[in-house]
């Protein structure tokens, strides 16, 4: 069966099915969303206007039988937060079900009549357009519950009140196996773009779907076995390994010890309360409360790493999933808050309202710097979410993200690149990540250059970690390999076993080659990743971005970051090398 694209026109509520055209046949996940956005969305369009689209695509191997940790769904469009191209991916139930319906992509375009809102039900028989009046004004916890009453065990993609208000920090929620809205394509405001299409939710029911074709079953099976063994063997990804035991918040204490943990709106690199909001602290709370909380939770069926968690409230009932490192940092250290219970409540508010937790925490930190609250005022910070829920002008400002909040409060220390605020790694102390923040096609993004070791793409052995030299090449190699993994549907955390264990890497490549029926080597992976980056970079150029936008904020050049008392010192010329090849190749 050939993969299809379903094009859903919200102007006339019609859905049409198309074969995947040859030019896009090689793409999945991020590669697919970026290829379609590049070709179909005018780069200068208003992100909330009628010409923007939301493209949804499962990865290459998503939906295949037992490819481990491969359930990612990519969401693409032009970002209202950054004005750039955007791909944001999430775990949860949607990717596997979209893929099992034989769909390579869903393209959502057009705009319905004013104040018309729909939810869509996508099954093997087609697309139904349902009146969403009864869902309006509701948060994602309630939406997921309501929709599972009529459509049990389905995937639910949706937006909270933030997306209805078309706020630039509105994310897209995907339900997890417990039908909670814990998995987010959070960054970049694509929830507002879905809102601009008049779509409150999308139900995906894969019952009776054709499943995913595997062109070379033998190769796929060999690769699957090697990759699974590597994940199960590696200290970080195996059962009770670092990720399974402590989740991504295992990084809190490490980055703090290194002096690279942005604290109180990026004014220091260490937070005295870091240990209280770390993965280790989450594990202690889960054990002590001995209720429905858990570590080692999987965000979708078939994940064998299981880095997610369910954080319990004081009575042991499930409060929120998942409390990630970047979330605990943004709503915690960066606001000077060390109360894990309140951070968990704020995370639940974000998941309900449909907000990206990183941008939300950073916006509160900016408001604190602007004098709205004291740093460390946990109760005050929690109450701010009511402003968004109640659609007050204050809530709308905070929901527009860091740059809008900084303007409203007259703050000049604004930790953004291309309109998107930085995640939990201080670039003055951790220089390499600064290059990726500056040059990423998505704005400041910690997942744009994900790797665990510098040995990929032939950069091995050429690096002195203490100098700035070579960081441009390295960042490009990281960004390209990440674009490949984002296209595959695999979770980025497979990077550990595949880069440390050779057979794991071959296994990953073999599963992709097996599904797609193509010849593929490790070198091809980088080349494909660069193709994705090139499309994204050219889209941004056509939208008006230049190399002058590939810069970190000015204050990081003159304000020393304690405890190391360092400033951002990378030269502009070095940064400009990262994408110099785009017009040379």
């Amino acid at each position: 069966m050939t993969r299809k694209i379903v094009r859903i026109n919200m102007s006339n509520q019609k859905a049409t099915y198309e074969d995947v055209p040859k030019k896009w046949a090689k793409w999945g996940g991020r590669g697919m969303t970026s290829a379609i956005v590049f070709e179909e969305i005018p780069p200068t369009c208003h992100p909330l206007g009628p010409n923007n689209k939301v493209v949804i695509a499962p990865g290459w191997v998503t939906g295949t039988p037992a490819a481990p940790s491969s359930g990612r769904t990519s969401f693409g469009g032009k970002s209202p937060l950054t004005g750039t191209i955007k791909e944001s991916n999430a775990g949860g139930l949607s990717g596997q079900k979209i893929a099992k319906l034989g769909l390579a992509a869903i393209i959502l375009e057009g705009t319905p009549a004013k104040d018309q809102w729909y939810y869509l039900v996508i099954t093997k028989d087609g697309v139904e357009f349902k009146d969403a009046s009864d869902l309006m004004g509701k948060g994602m916890y309630e939406i997921d519950e309501i929709l599972w009453k009529d459509y049990p065990k389905t995937a639910v993609i949706g937006i909270g009140q933030a997306g209805e208000m078309k706020l630039s920090n509105a994310g897209i929620s995907v339900n997890d196996p417990e039908n909670k809205p814990g998995r987010y394509a959070g960054r970049g405001g694509l929830g507002a773009v879905l809102g601009a299409r008049g779509i409150k939710a999308i139900v995906i029911d894969d019952a009776g779907g054709p499943g995913v074709d595997i062109a070379n079953k033998e190769l796929f099976e060999k690769g699957r076995k090697n990759l699974t063994e590597a994940i199960q063997e590696h200290a970080l990804t195996k059962k009770d390994g670092g990720l399974n035991a402590y989740g991504t918040d295992v990084l809190m204490n490490i980055v703090n010890e290194a002096g690279g943990l942005p604290t109180r709106n990026f004014s220091a690199g260490q937070f005295e309360g870091a240990a209280k909001i770390s993965g280790e602290a989450i594990a202690e709370v889960v054990e002590k409360r001995d209720g429905k909380g858990m570590t080692g939770h999987g965000c979708h069926p078939g994940c064998i790493i299981q880095c997610s968690n369910i954080y319990p409230d004081e009575s042991g009932e499930a409060l929120v999933s998942c409390l990630e490192y970047e979330t605990a940092w943004a709503l915690g250290a960066n606001c000077g808050i060390d109360n894990l219970d309140i951070i968990a409540r704020m995370t639940r508010e974000c998941n309900d309202l449909g907000l990206d937790t990183i941008e939300a925490g950073n916006s509160i930190a900016i408001a604190m710097e602007g004098g709205l609250l004291e740093f460390g005022d946990a109760e005050g910070a929690l109450k701010l979410f009511n402003e968004i829920r109640n659609k007050t002008p204050m809530g709308r400002i905070l929901g527009q993200g860091v740059e809008a909040t900084a303007k409203a409060f007259g703050v000049h220390r604004v930790p953004t690149v291309k309109g998107q605020s930085m995640p939990a790694y201080e670039p003055r102390a951790i220089k390499g990540i600064g290059v990726t923040y500056a040059t990423s096609t998505m704005g400041a993004d910690h997942t744009s250059g994900y790797t665990i070791a510098p040995e990929i793409a032939g950069v091995s052995g050429k690096l002195d970690p203490l100098t700035d030299e070579g960081k441009a090449d390295l960042s490009l190699a990281f960004q390209a390999s990440t674009a490949f993994i984002d296209s595959s549907g695999y979770c980025l955390f497979i990077a550990f076993p595949i880069l440390d264990i050779q057979t794991g890497f071959e296994g990953m490549v073999d599963t992709v080659a097996g599904v797609m029926g193509i010849d593929l080597t490790g070198d091809d992976a980088i080349a494909l990743g660069k193709e994705v980056l090139k499309m994204e970079r050219l889209f941004n150029e056509r939208a008006g971005f230049t190399k002058e936008d590939d810069r970190l904020p000015e204050f990081m050049r003159y304000e020393k970051l304690p405890p190391h008392d360092v400033v951002w010192s990378m030269t502009d010329e070095e940064l400009d090398k990262v994408f110099a090849w785009v017009h040379e190749d």
Binding site: N253, V255, S278, E280, Y450, A453, P465
Partner: protein, 121 residues
């Protein structure tokens, strides 16, 4: 011989060596002119259990290396030691300040890899 007080944080399984479960944050007295190696020995932390090691926010050791043992300690220093299973992806540590001894060790032995058979090695 005068003793000095070192502020320590142990993270993960090794917290048990200072009375913790997942985290132990405490102070410890050491005699003479101690090093991080002396501290590890006093706490009973073996090379196999140890992952990243920091002294006063400077990275002194990484999994699979043993580059911090000679690092000297002074009154009031802070030392953070992580268990072997703690992860830290490369791009989130690329460019952090590190000790001269670790920089030398990395230049000699090549970049670190995450140890994936910690208990067997």
């Amino acid at each position: 011989m005068p003793s000095i007080t070192i502020n320590i944080s142990l993270y993960g399984d090794i917290a048990k060596h200072a009375g913790g479960h997942h985290v132990a944050q405490t102070e410890i007295m050491l005699d003479g002119d101690p090093t991080i190696g002396d501290l590890q020995d006093k706490l009973g932390i073996s090379a196999e259990e140890k992952g990243y090691v920091f002294k006063n926010a400077i990275l002194c050791d990484v999994p699979g290396f043993d580059a911090a043992r000679e690092e000297s300690l002074c009154e009031g220093d802070h030392v953070g030691i992580f268990s072997i299973q703690h992860m830290w992806p490369y791009q989130y540590r690329d460019g952090v300040r590190m000790s001269d001894a670790l920089a030398r060790a990395l230049n000699e032995k090549g970049a670190m890899h995450n140890i994936y058979k910690a208990t067997e090695e």
